[in-house]
């Protein structure tokens, strides 16, 4: 998510392919190092949509189709 932009595609690939996975891992770390938070939209067994906040690449479910990065929360006024 970006101001003035909305959704921006950062990287895509298949985690089952080693070079793609490596690229996704690097991008994931780059985003987190830049201060973003990461979340994965998930759907529960009863069809209920939810989200999962992830702090490491290994936390991302292997079947996740996207990870959303957004600016880190800060206390507002």
């Amino acid at each position: 998510m970006k101001p003035g932009h909305g959704e921006v595609l950062i990287a895509e690939g298949d985690v089952e392919l080693a070079p793609d996975e490596q690229r996704l891992i690097e991008e994931f770390h780059r985003q987190l190092d830049a201060g973003s938070w990461a979340a994965v939209p998930v759907t529960g067994p009863q069809g209920r949509r939810d989200s999962l906040m992830v702090r490491a690449f290994g936390d991302i479910p292997r079947d996740a189709d996207r990870v959303i990065f957004f600016p880190r929360a800060a206390g507002g006024r």
Partner: protein, 209 residues
């Protein structure tokens, strides 16, 4: 007399210039550097509208149908709280169910689900300091989605990051109570419509005479 004063002023100015000139030059160069670092980006309503459309599409693809309908029709989303002791450690819920109202770029409001008693306001923002178009503010729907993901994914983390205030600091409690009333009316209408649809489907599916 005047001549003497003017001469004194000139001498004082000459002496002070030794001290003042470097400071003035430094301030001027700082001012120019600041202007160079932050190029002026004009507000473009078309760009902002396109960003908001993309943000709405993303929000819709992530939240539940009911929540999307709530946001589209009422302008906010309700998220149920999941902590047994309430939103924070201040107590106050006594284990009663509670929820949050998420508004775009406004505080998150916690309330008791049954009595609609307002608990607290949680002021939180998601500023993008890179300011790609001069502003750190996400589009409205992205702000709502960020709050939704952070609340449903890690309620404690978001609430402990936010600044907590008593109800009424940012949002008028009367308006919030009215929104809760609008939400209950909206839910009733939704249930009625769903029941009506189910009944008509049964009639359509029934074998003819």
């Amino acid at each position: 007399m005047l001549l003497a004063l003017a001469a004194t002023a000139l001498v004082a100015l000459a002496l002070l210039s030794e001290e003042l000139l470097p400071k003035l030059e430094e301030a001027w160069s700082r001012h120019r550097a600041r202007r160079r670092r932050t190029p002026e980006i004009s507000y473009d309503p078309g760009r902002e509208r396109r960003a908001e459309q993309r943000a709405r599409a993303l929000l819709r693809s992530c939240v539940n149908d009911e929540e999307w309908g709530m946001y589209r029709d009422l302008g906010f989303i309700r998220v149920w709280g999941s902590r047994a002791e309430g939103p924070d450690n201040t107590g106050g819920t006594g284990g009663a169910p509670y929820a949050y109202l998420i508004y775009p770029h406004r505080a998150i409001v916690a309330y008791l689900a049954q009595t609609h008693r307002l608990l607290n306001e949680y002021c939180v923002a998601f500023p993008d300091d890179t300011r790609p178009y001069g502003s750190p503010r996400l589009p409205d729907s992205d702000d709502v989605l960020a709050k939704w993901m952070a609340l449903t994914g890690d309620e404690h983390r978001l609430i402990s990051t936010a600044n907590m205030h008593l109800p009424g600091r940012q949002l008028d409690p009367v308006r919030v109570k009215r929104d809760l009333w609008r939400l209950s009316q909206w839910e009733r209408a939704r249930i009625r419509n769903a029941a009506g649809r189910a009944a008509s489907e049964q009639i359509d599916a029934a074998p003819g005479p």
